[in-house]
Structures are given as structure tokens and as C-alpha cells.
């Protein structure tokens, strides 16, 4: 049994009386402790899949199971303790008028966990931030530091699964490297399972064991990491994405 099982998922939005099929019949399985990547251009439905898992998108067909259990609707506290999300833009995903302390202790209060003092300090240390940052506001932090706070918040309830929606695309290359290293370290230490979305193939390749290439809401091709590195893709779309990746530009001037 896989930890995340998505079977024939469809998400349809209604926009101005018109139906928009954001995700059409996508199936995927993620094993425990695996890191799984979703790649594609904007509008390919990759982020919508993460939102559908969290109950933030109108699912019109198919099933999502976590550890064999179908998800309740609304998701409820049990789900939040198991699955957490890290969003793309740390400038937009942290409350601008809450201190870091308040942001991090809120999930503890909701779930009735004690010891919030020690847990908040430990969470900051775990993501490599000095405990002195606890009473700062988001605008007093840099982009990389904010993303660390967002990761710390996602880990407050010690979930098994992290959904990562382009966690580094708003960051500089050197800061991206630090955040990717942090995510890899946390995954190894805590045995986390990642479902990660990115448009950058080289980032996905660095982070993930298996990759699903998506286009126009449909799954195009699933690739193991070794197949990507060796350019063994069978569909032309996956190949064009590979060819256009910035990484290749440096290799072939």
C-alpha cells in the first residue's frame, strides 16, 4: 500500500459559465519516504493536484487516499497533523502582522498541544534560524529566512507528508541551494514523504526519486530519476521540457 494514492483525479473549475478542466484523470502513487516530483508549465495542473489533496480545489472525479484511507471532507485536524503544505511565495504565505512566534504556535494551539514555548524554539533551531527571530515580524526577515519559517510552520505538527509548491522559485540561486539542502536534511532525519511541484527540472531532479511530467491537466509521462539524467523520455513534450531547461543551456553553448 502506498502512502499517497491518487486515482483518476479530475478537478473542474467553473469560470464565467465555462468549464475549465484543470486536472483530467491523473493517477499517481507515492511510497512512504519517497520524494515525488510534478513538473510542467504554468496551467498544467500541477499545483491544483496539491490543492486538491488539501481540499482547496473542487474535485469532480476520482479518489485520493492517504495511507489507504479516503480523505474526509472537510479535511479536519487529523489530516492537518498528517499532511502539510509549503507555498511558493514566502512573502505572501506568512501573516504580515503576526510575529513568527504567533505563526508557529497557532497550529499547536489549534491541536491542543502543550509545551508551545519549547516547541517553537526547537522548530526555529531545526530549520537553522536563531531563536532570537521568534518575536520578529515577516518583513524583518529575508526571503530565504521567511521560507525557513514557512517550512518550520509546516513541520510544527510533525506531519508525515510535506506538499511543496515551488518552494524555491522566489529565491536567489544561493538561497535556493540552502533551502533545498534544508529540505533534504529534514527528509532524511524525519523520514518525510515529499510531493513537490516545480517548473525547474534541475531542482526536481536534485530532490525527487520519480517525476511526473504534466501538460494541460493531463499526465504526460512518468520518469525515474535515472531516465531523466540519461534523457530516456518517450514523449516529445517531456523531451522539449528537458531541452528547454536552463541546465542544458550551459552544457551546449
Amino acid at each position: 500500500m502506498s502512502l499517497i494514492e491518487i486515482d483518476n483525479l479530475s478537478v473542474t473549475f467553473r469560470a464565467q459559465g465555462r468549464l475549465v478542466h484543470a486536472v483530467e484523470g491523473v493517477s499517481l502513487k507515492v511510497e512512504e519516504c519517497e520524494s515525488y516530483g510534478l513538473v510542467g508549465e504554468s496551467g498544467s495542473g500541477k499545483s491544483t493536484i496539491l490543492r486538491a489533496i488539501c481540499g482547496l480545489a473542487p474535485v469532480t472525479g476520482g479518489t485520493i487516499r492517504i495511507a489507504g484511507q479516503p480523505l474526509p471532507s472537510p479535511r479536519g485536524p487529523g489530516f492537518a497533523a498528517q499532511v502539510q503544505m509549503v507555498f511558493q511565495d514566502p512573502y505572501a504565505s506568512l501573516h504580515p502582522r503576526h510575529t513568527i512566534d504567533r505563526t508557529l504556535s497557532e497550529p499547536l494551539a489549534i491541536h491542543g498541544l502543550r509545551d508551545s514555548d519549547a516547541r517553537v524554539v526547537q522548530a526555529l533551531v531545526d530549520v537553522g534560524l536563531p531563536p532570537g527571530f521568534r518575536f520578529r515580524y515577516p518583513h524583518q526577515l529575508s526571503g530565504g529566512q521567511r521560507q525557513r519559517v514557512a517550512i518550520a510552520r509546516a513541520l510544527m505538527l510533525q506531519p508525515k507528508i510535506l506538499l511543496l509548491d515551488e518552494p524555491t522559485s522566489a529565491l536567489d540561486a544561493s538561497v535556493q541551494a540552502e533551502v533545498l539542502n534544508l529540505l533534504n536534511r529534514l527528509r532524511a532525519e524525519r523520514g518525510l514523504t515529499f510531493l513537490m511541484v516545480s517548473h525547474d527540472l534541475s531542482v526536481i531532479d536534485h530532490m525527487c526519486d520519480r517525476i511526473l511530467v504534466m501538460q494541460h491537466g493531463k499526465a504526460v509521462e512518468e520518469l525515474a530519476r535515472a531516465d531523466l539524467a540519461a534523457a530516456r523520455m518517450t514523449t516529445s513534450y517531456a523531451r522539449s521540457l528537458f531541452e528547454a531547461s536552463a541546465d542544458r543551456m550551459l552544457a551546449a553553448p
Binding site: 544561493s174 534541475s202 536534485h206 528547454a244 536552463a246 541546465d247 550551459l250
Partner: protein
């Protein structure tokens, strides 16, 4: 004589906590070539680009020992002279079409505005020229795009509209400030090759500002690497991989590579004397 000649350019902002120098003594000259400026956020690359057009608002100040464009002293030029240069001789493509196009004006009106006011063209001539410009950036359905508002276009289309707008007056120098960082990789490659062809065909000079070393290496002849307002290294784009400076090497090494090792990515070491 070079087209653009800059010596010891400084951009200073007076803040409550004292003056902050965003650009600290940048010198370079530019001929008919494609020059890349790379650096992280806050390195002063955008400010350098804007300073050339004197587009820095107070409390920002621009100072330079010399800044000339085609023999004309940009530091001494009046605001009126600068207006004659902006767009017509030196064009600038901004980063994000969502924020740089007027949201309440159709694309057609924005494209023809300059042609009608600056060049005094009639309505029909101006729109014919705008249509041709949209075709040049490979927009498939230019008539529809002319009548559309910016929110009705995708990011890639919006970026092409901005490129078309800047290319209409055929400037001698084009400053492209992160022209593709808001776009998807596949669209990015397409937009860049359009830009590249246009710059070649019209024999323009290009200053390409980006945080992505790999893109710059592909589309420029020469690369300036900036850190904290200074140029730390200048390299020929083809020899970027052989760059010597620890900062440039650090920037190159911290990028993940397809098929690369799974070890932690090396961070940037900012301890050298250059990091002051």
C-alpha cells in the same frame, strides 16, 4: 569610441539610518555587443540599468565620473534631453508584464501611443506599424492582441508585447531587466530566441540583466558579475565555466544539475575580502 561609457557610477539612497550605496563604483564600456549583468537580489544590477536612463527617483542619487552615450554626456543632459533618448535611442524591457503594462489601456493603444505622440503618425500608419511589431515577436493573432487588455494575455504574450513596444522606435541600445524571469522555461526559451534574433537583425547593443548565470552565458558575449554594488568579475560568456572569482564559482556551483550528485549543494562562501 564606445557607444556607452561609464566610469565610477554610484547610486546612493539617503535613508533614516544614513546613506546606502546600491551601486558602488561601477565602470564599463559597451560597443555593439551583448553584455550580461548577473548577480543576486540586492547586488545593484537593476539599479545600474536604471541609472543609465537616469530613471532613479529621489531620494536616490546618481553620481559618476563619466557616463556618456554615443558621445553625449548623460550626467549633464537636461530632463528634456533625457526624454529624447529614452525609448528612441535607449529602450528598456521591464521584468514583469503584469506590472509594467497599463492595465486599463488596450495593447493597441499602448503600442501606438508613442508612435502618435512622438513620431506624429496618423492612426492608420501607427496601427500598421504596431501590427508589424507584434508580428515580429511572433504573436500569432496580432489583430486580436491589439484589442486586448493586458489581463487577457498570458505572461509570455505580455512579455512579447513589451518587447514589441520597445523595438518599435528601433533603439541603439536595449536594456532588458530580467525579461523572462516571470515566464515558464519553455516560453522563456522562445521569448529569448525572439529577442536574440531581433537584436542581431537590427544590430543593436544589448544589456541583459539577470540573476540566472546559465541564461546570460547563452545569450551574451560578455558577462559582468556583480556583488553588493560592485563588479567582482568580468568574463567572456563562453569562458564562464572557467571563471576564477570565488563568488562567480559559488554562483555556478550552487545550482542543481540534472544527473548531478545527490549531495548537499555547496553554499556561497562570503568570507573573502571581495565580500566587503
Amino acid at each position: 569610441m564606445s557607444l556607452l561609457d561609464i566610469k565610477n557610477l554610484r547610486v546612493t539612497f539617503d535613508t533614516e539610518t544614513g546613506p546606502v550605496q546600491a551601486v558602488r563604483g561601477v565602470s564599463f564600456s559597451l560597443n555593439r555587443e551583448r553584455l550580461g549583468i548577473v548577480g543576486e537580489s540586492g547586488s545593484g544590477k537593476t539599479m545600474t540599468g536604471r541609472a543609465v536612463l537616469r530613471l532613479i527617483r529621489p531620494p536616490g542619487r546618481i553620481e559618476a565620473d563619466r557616463m556618456t552615450f554615443d558621445g553625449q554626456d548623460l550626467m549633464a543632459a537636461s530632463e528634456r534631453d533625457m526624454r529624447a533618448l529614452r525609448g528612441k535611442r535607449i529602450g528598456m524591457i521591464m521584468q514583469d508584464p503584469k506590472f509594467s503594462l497599463n492595465p486599463v489601456m488596450t495593447v493597441g493603444r499602448q503600442l501606438t501611443e508613442g508612435l502618435r505622440l512622438r513620431d506624429g503618425l496618423g492612426r492608420a500608419d501607427a496601427s500598421a506599424k504596431a501590427l508589424a511589431a507584434l508580428k515580429a515577436v511572433q504573436i500569432r493573432d496580432p489583430e486580436r492582441v491589439m484589442g486586448a487588455y493586458p489581463h487577457e494575455l498570458s505572461g509570455g504574450m505580455g512579455q512579447r508585447v513589451m518587447i514589441a513596444m520597445m523595438l518599435i522606435p528601433e533603439p541603439d541600445l536595449l536594456i532588458a531587466d530580467e525579461p523572462t524571469s516571470a515566464l515558464d522555461v519553455t516560453v522563456q526559451a522562445e521569448v529569448l530566441s525572439i529577442l536574440d534574433n531581433l537584436v542581431r537583425d537590427r544590430n543593436m547593443s544589448l544589456i541583459f540583466i539577470s540573476h540566472d548565470l546559465r541564461l546570460v552565458a547563452r545569450f551574451c558575449d560578455r558577462v559582468l558579475v556583480m556583488y553588493k554594488g560592485r563588479i567582482v568579475e568580468e568574463v567572456a560568456a563562453g569562458k564562464l565555466l572557467e571563471a576564477q572569482h570565488p563568488y562567480t564559482r559559488g554562483l555556478l556551483n550552487c545550482l542543481p544539475r540534472i544527473g548531478g550528485p545527490r549531495e548537499p549543494l555547496p553554499g556561497l562562501d562570503r568570507t573573502g575580502a571581495w565580500a566587503e
